[in-house]
């Protein structure tokens, strides 16, 4: 049984089609988690962005090109479930995936994800993501960009980074 599982796991890792289907399923699951369970983690109306963490993960594991596409699709999904203006999160997450893609090292994806560098990449991507998102979010409102960004953007970045710590520790332990 354990052998079968290993075979399936390795097949999943080596077969890109299965892998991408897996990414799609995970993205959908994360969306459900976002809609249903993230309210339990809400701190002053700030929640961690699980789809951003997933985008950065893909960018580090698959590369900049796939990271951007994943970011765009995850962003579209996020826009849809958050009933936001369609394209806002798509743009922000595309840029985040693009930025995270610079840290792609071939065949070293899991090592990066399992290290503290992953948190720095998440923080950087989150910062870019929330800058772009805040810019478009406050456009129809009479709110100062910097006040909004400092109040919510940075808080969301920090919260997302802290949440990514669990993924980092999980991957780190599995790798050991």
């Amino acid at each position: 049984m354990a052998l079968n599982f290993d075979i399936r796991r390795s097949e999943y890792v080596t077969n890109p089609v299965l892998r991408y289907i897996g990414y799609g399923v995970i993205a959908l699951l994360l969306s459900v988690v976002h809609v249903v369970f993230l309210r339990f983690m809400q701190v002053s109306s700030v929640t961690p962005d699980l789809l951003l963490i997933f985008t950065v993960f893909i960018a580090i594991y698959e590369g900049q090109f796939t990271g951007m596409i994943a970011g765009f699709l995850c962003g579209l999904l996020f826009d849809a479930i958050s009933t936001d203006v369609l394209g806002t999160n798509a743009l922000a997450k595309t840029m985040a995936g693009f930025a995270a893609g610079y840290f792609y090292r071939e065949n070293q994806g899991m090592q990066v994800v399992g290290s503290f560098n992953f948190l720095l990449i998440i923080a950087l991507s989150g910062f870019i993501h929330n800058m772009i998102y805040s810019f478009f979010f406050i456009k129809p409102m009479q709110v100062s960009f910097w006040i909004f960004f400092l109040q919510y953007g940075l808080a969301a970045t920090l919260y997302t980074t802290v949440t990514a710590l669990f993924l980092m520790l999980f991957v780190n332990r599995r790798r050991d």
């Binding site: 459900v32 809609v35 249903v36 369970f37 309210r39 339990f40 809400q42 900049q64 090109f65 951007m68 596409i69 970011g71 765009f72 962003g75 579209l76 826009d79 849809a80 479930i81 009933t83 936001d84 203006v85 369609l86 394209g87 806002t88 798509a90 743009l91 595309t94 840029m95 693009f98 893609g101 478009f136």
Partner: protein, 283 residues
């Protein structure tokens, strides 16, 4: 062609980024998700279904904040209820007061009580009407329940009343049912006593007591109160009749001043006769 393919392959990340950015802006230009009609309905419906499926899971943080919000709301509602109750009571009082002028021949001047003094067994009230409003000393005050008191001092815009529950109160009164006469006096707290009623005369519990036409100070037939007890004191020829004032002085807020003063001719005549009688007795 080969050069173009090489260019695309070489700069595919930037080309992809540009394409995705353009696509994002295009989507943004479509506008809000609400403009997408059926698509929005599907998304919102799906999210709603998922959320309702997991709605049974309690959220302690949300419950706490909801609890706080409900407490605040409860407090606001309690204040609203108190206000509306007060408004109902005030409305009822004012309605009764509005009806009162129908039952009297005199002009009535409405007034609000702006102060009450209850010191040294002398109960006074200050009203917000004075000389400028036609109030004069000696005018009696009533409300929908009955006799309140008499004006004993007036300034331009205020007047002071001696309430019925005052140690100086002396009111000529009668039992409405049997026309038996007596004098009302205050005996502390909320108790009036009808005095000078012989034991042989018919007075029963719950009889209404009204002002008598013999009174030089108060208009006749104004309700004073109801008999609550009849006591026969030993070695006395008179009843001690306890009367409960019909006016609730503790909650008194509005009243009417009756624009009728004692007839000076009558007062002078009575005073003159009284002096003559005294002189005769002395001689």
């Amino acid at each position: 062609m080969r050069g173009l393919i090489d260019f695309v392959v070489r700069y595919r990340n930037y080309i992809t980024l540009s394409t995705l950015v353009v696509m994002s802006f295009s989507l943004m230009s479509i506008g809000n998700l609400s403009d997408l009609g059926g698509f929005r309905a599907v998304i919102v419906g799906s999210i709603g279904w998922i959320q309702s499926a997991f709605a049974w899971i309690p959220n302690p943080v949300a419950l706490k904040s909801e609890n706080t919000a409900l407490r605040e709301l409860n407090l606001q509602l309690a204040v609203e209820v108190a206000r509306s109750r007060q408004a109902i009571v005030e409305n009822e009082t004012l309605r009764k007061l509005m009806k009162l002028p129908q039952y009297t021949d005199h002009r009535l001047i409405t007034a609000d009580i702006v102060g009450k003094t209850t010191t040294e067994q002398r109960n006074y009230a200050t009203i917000d009407k004075g000389k400028a409003d036609g109030i004069r000393e000696g005018m009696s005050c009533i409300n929908d329940a009955g006799l309140v008191g008499i004006v004993i001092g007036v300034s331009d815009h205020y007047a002071v009343l001696e309430l019925l529950i005052n140690r100086d109160t002396r009111v000529s009164a009668k039992v409405l049912r049997t026309r038996v006469d007596g004098v009302i006096q205050w005996e502390g707290e909320n108790i009036l006593v009808l005095k000078n009623v012989p034991r042989s005369l018919d007075v029963r519990k719950y009889d209404a007591i009204v002002t008598s036409a013999y009174s030089a100070k108060y208009p006749a037939n104004i309700v004073i109160g109801r008999v609550t007890a009849i006591e026969d004191e030993p070695n006395s020829l008179f009843h001690r009749i306890v009367v409960q004032p019909s006016v609730n002085f503790a909650t008194l807020e509005q009243l009417y001043v009756v624009d009728a003063r004692p007839d000076p001719e009558r007062i002078n005549l009575e005073r003159k006769i009284d002096e003559t009688s005294r002189t005769r007795v002395t001689q």
